[in-house]
Amino acid sequence: MAPRKTASTSSRKTAAKPAKKDFNGGIIADFSKEDDLKAYREMLLIRRFEEKAGQLYGMGFIGGFCHLYIGQEAVVVGMQLALKDGDQVITGYRDHGHMLACGMSPRGVMAELTGRRGGLSKGKGGSMHMFSKEKNFYGGHGIVGAQVSLGTGLAFANRYRGNDNVSLAYFGDGAANQGQVYESFNMAALWKLPVVYIIENNRYAMGTAVSRASAQTDFSQRGASFGIPGYQVDGMDVRAVKAAADEAVEHCRSGKGPIILEMLTYRYRGHSMSDPAKYRSKDEVQKMRSEHDPIEQVRARLLERKWASEDDLKQIDKEVRDIVADSADFAQSDPEPDASELYTDILL
């Protein structure tokens, strides 16, 4: 697969393609020290959390499917920075990062991965099915593309209630070829629903490269026939994501209807835990890791601007590791759900 021009640009340049004058997407927001420290901590939490999840999977504590978000952290962290109370988030099966970014408890997420009673779904949902009414996170969906119609429904509900909240519907380059995505685009544009469609293009739908599955590989243009504006964003740079998110969310909030953000990103790990990832070269992965890592970019910036010392960063690392270790301890020691839970939560 030919390298994508946009994803391989350096972090300093814009990767977004402003297709309309009123959209500055990709003009990188100048992050303050606090912004960068917050982004660093949140992305690191996802990274360490996912590494630990991978380890627990390897030890047999986590079963079934487990899709790690490592490499894509800047996308959810950047998007989340643009939201306000009451805005909703929904995504597919690669969802641990989204939940942590929404502020859901690491213990709750990890214990759900191990199928324990303290998990966010009492152990009954697993990796792909977690929800939080409190944090406005609507799943966690295992059927590829289903979350796009559901997320459009969240936006519909905001419009129905007459509030100015926005929903974020995340899906991948693979899901972008599902029929219901376009059914949803049509309704969202027709009814001017406040939904941001975020296509996390990590270049592979399981093992199939974008160019082998998609006739139009510029996913930002997938809404063109419905008049939905779309922009490509460097999804490896949290500042670019945040800048695009601010504009997209404002676009929706002000009643202009849906918008598409294609996040050019990359997953370092296989599709799921059992994927040996033979469909891409090690060099490709290594190049992304060494040149575009979302966390390393922030780390380098913090050090360069002397916003943090090595020791400060070590301290953050330690705090994050402690949170993750605590969640892992909890997830291993918490009991499995009581047998009586088998028949609860089926009907109200």
Partner: protein, 463 residues
């Protein structure tokens, strides 16, 4: 403290594997994410990445070792400033915890076991129908009007109820079930959708997850097959998958089953399909009163309800009590006619055959008890069993396909719960096991008929 690196499980089913290659050697520094070894599973060769940082102190399992069990220590990782001497007492990375007791009972994987006995399914008891006060005026009403009245009353009562579907607003409903709703409630609450069943079903479910109460009309349930993933995987399962945090309080409704001469793709009954799904309620009324009372109940129900109507019944008139708020219990069968010699259970349009058969049988001196099931799920088996205990004979009647039908489900349950009371094998009358033909004569043959029902009752009565 040195950390033991354990043989990882790399797929849901892996129990052992071959440690084919060490990428890092003793003395090499590693950090999180570095590939340290390659392991061959039954499916593929996988890379193992380091989780912790440190220096490989000792390799415990040499490259090329086969049949290495998951969780066997394969190497020791030294942390900052530790020497190889410290390896005498390595600490296991995750101190393979005291996993819960039940877990280890069967096998040493950490994914639990099914050692605990399966708990009993909870018993659901539906309330009885409300009393209709003496002197209540009964108004002849079509099923069509009854359904419309039910929606209008609930929309007046609850601002969070809205109706969406193809042609529901300006066209006034493809079958005129939503007639007048747009005029009364406006375009915000009566929403014409594009022809896009999968998409608008998903939009409805998403709205319901936030607490709104959509009524999603399908022009026919045949088209809902395009939406069945959202109905089952999203609407029905979310409450369970979220540990009770959120569900889909909504109604999916529309005509179901055969109409007349609309051929195979528009003539299928979905009662048995949806009745299999935990997390759904499935209602299929026959009379206008039931249509009204049960639709009102379905709209108020906090769960997703499949409400199966029938085009042929839309125009039929029945008495409906004139009451301010006539709501019927979901999950309760109604005894349409009392009798002693045999029991017929039917529902929806199936009742039209049953009612006529009962009248014919009466002329021949056979006194049939006719039960209108009304709700397919949860199914009111106690009412059926009670009747069978009295009559000893049972015939079921429906238009759907015969295999794995609602009737075969009833037969199974009655066999299990009232075997000793049965005086004859249970007979199930259903549509024929064919796609619906178009030709008038063939269509007639494909559907059940009154004669078949009469004959079945005579057979179980040995007459």
């Amino acid at each position: 403290m040195p950390i033991e690196i354990l043989m990882p499980a790399l797929s849901p089913t892996m129990e052992e594997g071959t440690l084919s290659k060490w990428v890092k050697n003793e003395g090499d520094a590693v950090k999180s994410g570095d590939v340290i070894a390659e392991i061959e599973t039954d499916k593929a060769t996988m890379e193992v990445e380091a989780v912790d940082e440190g220096v490989i102190g000792k390799i415990l399992i040499p490259a090329g070792s086969e049949g290495v069990k998951v969780n066997t220590p394969i190497a020791v990782l030294l942390q900052d400033g530790e020497s190889a001497d410290a390896m005498a007492a390595p600490k296991t990375a995750e101190k393979p915890a005291e996993a819960p007791k039940v877990e280890e009972a069967e096998k040493p994987t950490r994914q639990g076991s099914a050692a605990a006995p399966v708990p009993a399914a909870p018993k659901v008891e539906a309330a009885a129908d409300p009393d209709i006060p003496a002197g209540t005026e009964m108004v002849m009403t079509t099923v069509r009007e009854a359904l419309r009245d039910a929606m209008a009353e609930e929309m007046r009562r609850d601002e969070s109820v809205f109706v969406m579907g193809e042609e529901v607003a300006e066209y006034q409903g493809a079958y005129k079930i939503t007639q007048g709703l747009l005029q009364e409630f406006g375009a915000r609450r009566v929403i014409d959708t594009p022809i896009t069943e999968h998409g608008f079903a998903g939009v409805g479910v998403g709205a319901a997850m936030t607490g709104l109460k959509p009524i999603v009309e399908f022009m026919t349930f045949n088209f809902a097959m395009q939406a069945i993933d959202q109905i089952i995987n999203s609407a029905a399962k979310t409450l369970y998958m979220s540990g009770g945090q959120m569900g889909a309080p909504m109604v999916f409704r529309g005509p179901n089953g055969a109409a007349a001469r609309v051929a195979a793709q528009h003539s299928q009954c979905y009662a048995a399909w949806y009745s299999q799904i935990p997390g759904l309620k499935v209602v299929m009324p026959y009379t206008a009163a039931d249509a009204k009372g049960l639709l009102k109940a379905a709209i108020r129900d906090p769960n997703p309800v499949i409400f199966l109507e029938n085009e042929i019944l839309y125009g039929q008139s029945f008495e409906v009590p004139k009451m301010d708020d006539f709501v019927l219990p979901i999950g309760k069968a109604r005894i349409h006619k009392k009798g002693n010699d045999a029991t017929i259970v039917s529902f929806g349009i199936g009742m039209t055959y049953a009612v006529k058969a009962v009248a014919e049988l009466e002329k021949e001196g056979i006194d049939v008890e006719l039960i209108d099931l009304r709700t397919i799920r949860p199914m009111d088996i106690p009412t059926i069993v009670e009747s069978v205990r009295k009559t000893g004979r049972l015939v079921t009647v429906e238009e759907g396909y015969p295999q794995s039908s609602v009737g075969t489900e009833i037969a199974t349950r009655v066999m299990q719960q009232a075997f000793d009371y049965l005086d004859a094998p249970i007979l199930t009358i259903a549509g024929k096991d064919v796609p619906m033909p178009y030709a008038a004569n063939l269509e007639k043959l494909a559907l059940p008929n009154v004669g078949e029902v009469v004959q079945a009752v005579k057979t179980v009565c040995y007459k």
